[in-house]
């Protein structure tokens, strides 16, 4: 990147820095072009569709209707005024609430458990490499497969979970985990936590291995309690890695689709933003309306991530002042 400063005192042609920046740009160009095609273009197109009345029957026949998919005012013959559109659609806000609730709880559990697993794996013990590989299995299984697998395990009649819990006398009757309104979200959360904790553990482990060992030795010599070591040394040092991991997970969790779609399809208790947007786009043939919801999903995601980064910075500067 060239800055205005680099121009000062350079009258004889481009500086070395400029040349390098230009070369870097050309090396980056193919990647930028690819990113534009696979990320920016679909995003812009979704935004465009959300301002039209397109249906799936003909994607090119939509008329421009501005923000009517988001909000419009209808005056009834009786004189009453009603608001319509995604922004006043209770189903949409239910989905937003489901998604946010899911994301916060799942990311919280995954971070704590992931960190715990990473700490265990960071210790030296026999067979560590095998355990490290083994713990990644849930993450390696495609979500569709693991969701279907869990759907069977959670099945009320044949499911092994009910069977085990009955035998252990934890429950006194079989529970239909995925279909009861109260337990559907718990089921989705449990499966997601099971699946994604290894990913968090891996990222945390990478952070842990960056921490120089001699700090721990110094702490041990000073006779500092291990809990204090964790909160005063380990946690601050792996914080950057942890922050990035949490952002990744948050982005992933906010757009969750596959697990919910397979495990608890059509249940209002777990329908997320992605699920409801797909439902409108395809099942109900309201492509434009679904696009409006996708656009809002993008906006919410952007807000969440900015908020997170901003809050993270505030915290960091607070530490700097100490």
């Amino acid at each position: 990147m060239t800055t205005p400063d680099s121009f000062q005192g350079q009258n004889a042609g481009p500086s070395l820095q400029q040349q390098r920046a230009r070369a870097a740009f050309w090396f980056l160009a193919p990647m930028l072009f690819a990113l534009f095609c696979v990320a920016a273009w679909p995003l812009l197109r979704t935004f465009y569709f959300s301002m039209t009345d397109t249906t799936l029957d003909n994607l090119y026949a939509g008329k421009w209707i501005w923000f009517k998919n988001y909000l419009r005012v209808i005056s009834l013959p009786s004189g009453a005024v009603q608001y319509r559109g995604t922004l006043v659609d209770p189903n949409w806000w239910n989905a937003v609430w489901n998604t946010v609730r899911f994301s916060i709880v799942s990311v919280l559990f995954e971070s704590v458990l992931g960190l715990a697993v990473a700490l265990a794996l960071n210790a030296e013990f026999k067979g560590r490499s095998i355990v490290r590989a083994a713990i990644l299995i849930p993450w390696a299984i495609p979500t569709i497969v693991s969701a279907k697998m869990w759907a069977w395990m959670l099945n009320d009649q044949y499911g092994i979970i009910n069977d085990l819990m009955l035998k252990a006398h934890l429950i006194d009757h079989k529970i239909a985990w995925a279909s009861t309104t109260d337990t559907a979200m718990i089921a989705v959360l449990a499966v997601d936590i099971w699946k994604t904790t290894p990913f968090m553990a891996l990222l945390c482990l990478a952070g842990l291995q960056m921490v120089p060992r001699d700090i721990y030795e110094a702490a041990r010599i000073d006779g500092i309690h291990p809990v204090k070591v964790f909160f005063r040394i380990t946690l601050p040092l792996i914080r950057p890695a942890l922050m990035v991991a949490v952002i990744f997970r948050m982005l992933d969790a906010l757009r969750i689709f596959d697990l919910v779609y397979v495990l608890t399809p059509n249940s209002a208790a777990t329908k997320t933003m992605s699920v409801i947007s797909r439902e409108n786009m395809i099942d109900f043939n309201k492509f434009a309306y679904g696009s409006a919801q996708s656009t809002l999903l993008f906006a919410i995601l952007a807000v969440f991530v900015s908020l997170y980064i901003w809050l993270g910075k505030v915290d960091l500067s607070g530490e700097g002042r100490k």
Binding site: L56, Q157, S179, T180, P265, N266, D283
Partner: protein
């Protein structure tokens, strides 16, 4: 160097093998059919189409889909909207014709000999704006399956009303559980939030005299005391005579409980009849079928009209072969085969008097009147908005059954939602 020669030689052999495998019947075409797999139709399919393959020299390959009709529809709509030529034939639900009509070939001319042999109402259901969108391959009207051995054991009559059914189910369930079958249930049906629940709930509402959600003239009739009563009755089954998990059951899950001998009654389509009498079935020879119960003495039984059809994609590159296969699948030979092997109700009138069919599947001649009086889902009056209407209806029912609001509240809300969806006109 020798490595290079070997590679070339290997490639040559591979090429020869490919040519031998695919090149020889150069004229034969490969026709791709897509359908959802329920019961044994996926495993039976190669036998079913063998005669057509032998006659024409073409090959049929199947693209299997999940058995939920809602899932299938979503995928088909995507493929068709994209104009894909990968799929030549689509097996379509009876309710889809108005929504997908523009993507399919008009089969009126091709099927001119077949049409007069069919039930006119079915042909009518697949005709959109004078275009015959799909050819019927079988029709469907559900039955109440009951365990005749258990009704006899507990001296219960074959139930006529839903309340009788629930009472018998309770007695049998309590008895069987006391005798040691801990997983025994009284009644299983399709309670998952999907198109199947619309079918089940339409039957409850209609058999209580509560109308059919949206009437043929387009009026929204669902918010009435009889419909409320119907849903309250159904709600009372969940967790008592039906497992709480029934709220996630589709056809196959219900059949799973039934066919392992763990239910006294089941609501299901006729396909479960031959499967229930299969060699690996625990209820083989122990059950019979009757029409679905009614709300009260004097109401009439209601069965939702189902049925599947075969449509030829406008985007197919093998249209002639595809039409030929469609005619075969909808024709008397294939329909008879399905009737005998899969107890699928034929759409060709003469097959109901066929001796072979009556012998293999006694339910079929018995079921002619049931399906002739079957209730259609409101796909005709609601046109392109049917899916949304159905989804709102099944959500309201699912909410009621899972104790999320009372039947009266949910139906009042549903009426508002449907009025919204309807707007000025369907």
């Amino acid at each position: 160097m020798s490595f290079g020669y070997r590679a070339i030689a290997l490639r040559g052999i591979a090429l020869a093998a490919i040519v031998a495998a695919f090149g020889a019947p150069a004229m034969a075409e490969e026709v791709k059919v897509v359908f959802g797999s329920t019961g044994s139709d996926l495993t039976d399919f190669p036998d079913l189409v063998k005669p057509w393959e032998d006659k024409t020299g073409n090959k049929v390959s199947v693209v299997p889909m999940p058995s939920s009709t809602s899932d299938q529809f979503a995928q088909y709509r995507l493929w068709l909207a994209a104009g894909t030529s990968d799929i030549d034939l689509y097996q379509t639900d009876v309710i889809w014709a108005p929504q997908l009509a523009q993507h399919f070939v008009d089969l009126t001319a091709a099927a001119k000999d077949l049409i007069p042999t069919e039930f006119p109402s079915i042909i009518q259901s697949q005709t959109v704006g004078g275009k015959l969108v799909a050819l019927p391959i079988f029709t469907d009207a559900p039955a109440l399956y009951y365990r005749k051995d258990l009704l006899e054991k507990y001296k219960q009559p074959v139930p006529k009303t839903w309340d009788e059914m629930a009472a018998s189910a309770k007695i049998i369930m309590d008895g069987e559980r006391a005798a040691g079958s801990k997983d025994f249930w009284g009644f299983v049906f399709q309670g998952n939030a999907y198109e199947g629940l619309t079918c089940d709930a339409l039957e409850w509402v209609k058999s209580f005299g509560g109308g059919q959600i949206v009437e043929p003239d387009g009026t929204i009739s669902i918010n009435n005391p009889k419909a409320v009563k119907a849903l309250e009755t159904a709600k009372s089954w969940v967790g008592t005579i039906a497992p709480a998990g029934v709220l996630s059951y589709q056809e196959e899950e219900a059949r799973g409980v039934w066919q392992t001998g763990n239910a006294a009654f089941m609501r299901n389509w006729p396909y479960a009849y031959s499967l229930g009498n299969g060699a690996d079935s625990k209820v083989k020879g122990l059950f019979d079928v009757t029409t679905l119960p009614v709300g009260a003495e004097g109401d009439s039984s209601a069965a939702t009209l189902g049925g599947w059809n075969i449509a030829v994609s406008k985007y197919s590159k093998h249209q002639d072969a595809a039409i030929s296969l469609a005619l075969y699948l909808a024709g008397p030979e294939a329909q008879k085969w399905r009737a005998i092997h899969e107890t699928h109700l034929p759409t060709i009138q003469a097959l109901y008097d066929d001796a072979d069919v009556a012998k293999a599947a006694p339910i079929i001649p018995q079921w002619k009147n049931v399906f002739l009086n079957a209730v259609p889902r409101p796909s005709a009056p609601t046109l392109g908005k049917y899916n949304e209407v159905s989804a709102k209806f099944w959500s309201a029912v699912h909410d009621t059954l899972s104790g999320n609001g009372s039947a009266a509240d949910n139906l009042a809300k549903l009426e508002g939602d449907l009025t919204d969806i309807k707007g000025d006109n369907w």
